[in-house]
């Protein structure tokens, strides 16, 4: 059972747990960066070396681009945004960290069940790939739903994307890589925009708590610390 | 081998007898005026419990069951001058009647072979209301603190497990067709796992000693239920597997062990209440020196109920543990999952039980008295602690008896393991004694035991009010499970000048999740519904005539159509 790729996949699972339990923004970004680098190298690791010989240039390019973008560039951007926005460094959970980790564990159980159900053994690269992919997607969704800070939404999207590319890499889709590059572009744009947006929002409102941004719904601009004022004006 | 009837009637007689002896002294002072009422209900309860076990057929069983509920409700209502007691009695009566209704339905459905699972579901509600399956346990933490201690002892020790007797008798959990075994087994397992972990979790933050013990009954019934569930699952795969018998034996042994241990603990709680006037552990403390017999027996029984070797509470659980791990060993996916569930739930229960019982012993009997009532307490009349002693002796006797019992039920399977476990427990006790002897005689100054003031970080005058309270003792664990427990804090903060602040206080309160979260809203909804029906009976004659007319019309239409 032991191959390098499986160790990476297991580390991925641990990184999911760690992400769900990370209380500091800095660590969360760091875990996402590690995940990004792992996702980058996975296509090379999962390549059937004995059967297909040395992988072609396409795979190598994908690996390098993926790890550079997801593992280095985006996390750096996020760290820059955090530094600039001077947000509080603690994540504010809606669901407690303990509970989040437990939910991720339950997702892993579900992921393994799904992996059992999806009998795609012919094309599957590793038995761990699909459960880990589903767990990672779930973790991404959890981060999006269960944390208050806007920046965690960005992180969540990144993790979700990691899960999707893991799924693609895991079942060795022929055109998966093209699709994936598209998604990567989307996410890149998203992170970029959100990164700038957060910075700008922060400059205007001195807060990036999404709870307070909810009050932006009507056209009034209001100061977040007097959130009930707008009813009267 | 003991028959099921014997197993379930032993607690009735043993705990009943001990409780009767205890009650002669427990009811004192003004309350003695109502003694005839107490004895009437007490004897009726015991008699109907015996009748439940001895009943021959379904109808006598149901009659005895209903009588048992009514008679024990009379016991719960003994101190009916207090509002809280009346409220608890209502909740208990409601639980009894709802249970009896469900049981009648189950009795009817049972005769139809195609409705076996429906009958089982009704029985889970009916018997579960007595056993205290979650979420039907809501009456336990209300009724036990309200009832006089001897009544709590027989209800918790002997009456609650009778629900399992009903299951074993009418639903032969043990031998049945495999398809039902899966349903029965998982139901018991799931209810047992939730009950055991949840029960002990809710026992942790309780300040009232009897409320703590009541929640711990939920826990122990959960353990029994897990044993029976695992047994059903294993038997469903292979009826001849000795593991099934082992789990069954472990569960039944735990029924007996729990009866003696918990009976004795409730009696001790009654003694504490009688001598101090309170059950609030934060206001007790230091009773071990003032009530040495009661305290020592309480400590021994609590140790046993925490499921620690060498006492009997451990051996029954060990049998279930062996069953769970052997189920994991088989490699069958269903059994592996079941085994993991049981092993993990039992371990969490065990770890939390240590915390809960250490709190019960420490808060009530150890340290310094935290109130004048506790400071002034004296030992109870002799017969009160003799009743406890009787049950404790039975518990100790259950150590070898559990091994024999499991041996006879399984035909020698795992006997060696249990004997080793029992002997090891004994050797633990023996090593303790020898270490004490070494300390006394082998150490040059071991006989000198100077009394020194308690070390309090260099502070000069430590008082009892600085000691850790029972609430503080469990606070970290309670905080950890806050989302589930929903403990409420009532804080009276410091006011005024910081140099001479006013009095401050903190109190915590943890309500039962099932009562507050499920039953209260449900019954509020039902009450609202019936208020709407109330419109039909508003005292106006015209409306009544209209209703009669409508009814006649409807009947006419019905007659013509058919």
């Amino acid at each position: 059972m032991l191959t390098l790729s499986e160790i990476v996949l297991a580390l991925f699972l641990i990184a999911d747990l760690a992400l769900a339990g990370a209380s500091r923004l800095k660590y969360a970004i760091r875990f996402v960066a590690i995940q990004g680098r792992m996702v980058g190298v996975l296509p090379v690791l999962l390549w059937n070396w004995e059967g297909n010989g040395c992988p072609g240039a396409r795979i190598w390019i994908i690996a390098v681009v993926n790890s550079l973008v997801k593992g280095v560039a985006l996390p750096m951007l996020l760290e820059y945004a955090v530094r600039k926005a001077r947000t509080r460094r603690e994540l504010e959970p809606i669901v407690s960290f303990q509970m989040s980790r437990f939910i991720v564990f339950l997702m892993a159980v579900g992921g393994f069940a799904i992996g059992r159900l999806l009998h795609v053994h012919e094309t599957i690269a590793s038995e761990l790939a699909i459960p880990v992919a589903f767990t990672t997607m779930g973790t991404g969704l959890l981060l999006i739903c269960a944390r208050k800070k806007a920046i965690t939404q960005v992180l969540g999207f990144l993790v979700l994307e990691n899960g999707i590319s893991l799924f693609g890499a895991g079942i060795l889709l022929e055109y998966g890589i093209v699709v994936e590059l598209g998604i990567l572009l989307d996410v890149f744009a998203l992170v970029f925009i959100l990164g700038i947006a957060i910075f700008q929002i922060n400059r205007t409102f001195a807060s990036t708590d999404t709870d307070q941004l909810n009050h932006l719904g009507d056209t009034h601009l209001m100061h977040p610390h007097h959130k009930h004022d707008h009813v009267h004006d | 081998m003991l028959s099921t009837e014997t197993i379930f009637s032993i607690p009735v007689l043993a705990v009943g007898g001990a409780a009767a002896v205890h009650a002669t002294a427990y009811i004192h002072g003004e309350a003695r005026r109502h003694l005839p009422r107490f004895w009437c209900f007490f004897v009726l309860t015991l008699a109907s419990m015996a009748a439940v076990v001895l009943a021959d057929g379904k109808l006598p069983f149901l009659l005895a069951w209903e009588a048992m509920g009514l008679a024990s409700a009379g016991l719960v209502a003994f101190e009916s001058k207090e509002k809280s007691v009346r409220k608890a009695t209502w909740i208990y009566l409601l639980a009894c009647h709802a249970g009896a209704c469900a049981l009648m339905l189950a009795g009817v459905l049972m005769n139809r072979p195609d409705a076996a699972v429906a009958a089982f579901a009704c029985a889970v509600v009916g018997f579960g209301l007595k056993i205290g399956f979650p979420p039907f346990h809501a009456w336990l933490p209300e009724a036990h603190p309200a009832a006089p201690a001897p009544a709590s002892a027989i209800m918790s020790g002997a009456m609650i497990p009778l629900g399992f007797y009903g299951f074993i008798r009418f639903f032969s959990v043990f031998c049945m067709e495999p398809s039902n075994a899966v349903v029965y087994g998982w139901t018991f397992l799931a209810l047992g796992a939730i009950g055991s972990v949840g029960g002990i979790l809710f026992a942790l933050p309780q300040a009232n000693l009897k409320r703590l013990l009541a929640f711990s009954s939920v826990e122990n019934m959960g353990v029994v239920s897990m044993g029976l569930g695992l047994s059903a699952l294993i038997a469903g795969k292979d009826a001849k597997n000795p593991l099934a018998a082992l789990c069954m034996a472990g569960a039944l042994a735990h029924v007996l062990n729990h009866a003696f241990l918990k009976g004795s603990l409730f009696l001790a709680a009654g003694s504490v209440l009688r001598q101090t006037g309170t059950l609030d552990q934060d206001r007790l403390g230091g009773l071990m020196r003032r009530m040495p017999f009661t305290g020592t027996l309480f400590a021994v029984n609590a140790f046993g109920l925490a499921g620690l070797p060498p006492l009997n509470g451990f051996l029954g659980e060990l049998a279930i543990y062996i069953g769970a791990f052997s189920a994991i060993k088989t490699g069958d996916p269903v059994l592996v999952a079941a085994g993991f569930l049981v092993a993990v739930s039992l371990s969490v229960t065990g770890g939390l039980a240590i915390a809960a019982y250490a709190k019960a012993i420490g808060g009530t009997f150890l340290g310094e008295p935290r109130s004048k009532m506790a400071d002034d307490a004296v030992e109870t009349p002799r017969r009160m602690w003799v009743a406890q002693l009787f049950l404790t002796c039975l518990s100790v006797a259950m150590v070898p008896r559990t091994v024999l019992f499991v041996h006879s039920m399984t035909g020698g399977f795992a006997t060696g393991i249990l004997i080793v476990a029992a002997v090891l427990g004994m050797s633990f006790a023996a090593i303790t004694v020898s270490l004490l002897l070494i300390r006394r005689f082998a150490c040059p100054r071991g006989g000198e035991k100077p009394r020194l003031p308690v070390w309090d970080c260099g502070y000069d005058r430590p008082t009892a009010r600085m000691a850790y309270t029972a609430m503080a003792f469990t606070q970290p664990l309670v905080d950890l499970f806050r989302p589930l427990l929903r403990t409420r804090r009532h804080v009276l903060p410091f006011k005024g000048d910081p140099a001479s602040p006013s009095d401050a206080a903190i109190a915590t309160e943890t309500d039962d999740l099932a009562l507050g979260g499920l039953w209260r809203p449900v019954f509020t909804k039902i009450a609202r519904l019936f208020q709407r029906v109330h419109l039909l009976q508003n005292g106006s004659l015209h409306l009544y005539i209209l209703i009669i007319l409508m009814a006649v019309l409807a009947l006419l239409v019905f007659a013509f159509v058919s």
């Binding site: - | 925490a306 100054r445 003031p453």
Partner: protein, 299 residues
């Protein structure tokens, strides 16, 4: 031979604490108290009188003896020689329940003193041990599934290099989870710092504030035995089987010595974590162990 090994284990126990402390001293650039410091401490304490708090009862008097006795009983059943003997009849659950019984006595003994600090220590002890119990039993389930045997010697029959290769992921995860339990139960960094004697962060030592003389000697020796015992459990769980002879014993004790050095290194390079983080970490360990079970069972 089994009895010889038990005696050997009983004699060597304080040495391993010495190894930990010497390692820490080495990393701290100090000379250190010497490998045999604990022996001397115990000898000195045994010669003293046995003080008690003002209002304690018999519970305080027997607490330390009983908790040492529980650990001693666990030492007796432990399969020091690998396989066979008493340990093949003892279910692994019993082993941990014996340790729990010892802990129970320490806890109620400390509550008996009526000291606020001891109450605090006891409160933390029951909190952490309840969580550790969860991790331990998940791991036990894993080992039972792996070994196909519920007895202590079966569970500890070791893992051959081939099995290591085949299941390295779950095995490493379980190893990490049990390492966390090992450090927690022995109150070592990062969960607790044995250096900060009598400070408020202490879990285990805080319960011994009013204990002195032979009782303290019992407590210190019990802690050393427990360290050795859990280290032995960890080592035997994962080292390959060396048969039932002296070779096994040699491998076992050198493994414990290595683990002691490793503990010393961990304590030298890590800081104690924030106290409120500890329960989360141990819950995390439980999840990691459960994950290992999941990965292992599903393949």
């Amino acid at each position: 031979m089994n009895i010889l090994c038990i005696i050997l284990a009983a004699i060597l126990a304080p040495l391993f604490i010495g190894i930990v402390n010497q390692t820490k001293a080495f990393f701290g650039g100090r000379r250190g108290p010497g490998l045999f410091r604990l022996y001397a401490d115990i000898r000195k304490l045994l010669g003293k009188s046995c003080p008690r708090p003002e209002h304690s009862t018999w519970i305080f008097d027997i607490a330390q003896s009983a908790s040492l006795a529980a650990v001693a009983a666990a030492v007796i059943v432990f399969p020091w020689t690998g396989g066979g003997g008493l340990a093949s009849l003892v279910p692994a659950a019993l082993f941990f329940y014996l340790l729990a019984a010892g802990r129970f006595f320490t806890v109620i003994g400390s509550l008996d003193a009526g000291n606020a600090f001891e109450g605090m220590g006891a409160s933390r002890e029951v909190q952490f041990s309840a969580l550790a119990e969860l991790v331990v039993f998940v791991i036990l389930g894993f080992l039972v599934f792996l070994a196909g045997d519920i007895s202590l010697s079966g569970v500890l029959s070791g893992i051959s290099p081939g099995e290591w290769r085949a299941n390295v992921i779950p095995l490493v995860l379980v190893f990490l989870a049990f390492l966390a339990v090992f450090l927690l139960e022995n109150c070592r960094v990062p969960f607790d710092d044995p250096e900060t004697h009598l400070e408020l962060t202490m879990i285990h030592e805080a319960m011994l504030l009013d204990v002195g003389g032979p009782d303290l000697a019992f407590a210190l020796y019990g802690a050393a035995l427990k360290f050795e015992l859990l280290a032995a459990f960890l080592v035997m769980m994962f080292m390959p089987c060396f048969g039932n002879g002296w070779l096994h014993v040699l491998a076992l004790f050198s493994g414990i010595a290595l683990l002691s050095v490793a503990t010393g290194i961990i304590e030298s390079v890590m800081a104690r974590m924030r106290f409120l983080k500890s329960p989360q970490t141990i819950m995390g360990a439980a999840l990691v162990a459960a994950l290992a079970v999941l990965i292992f069972v599903c393949f």
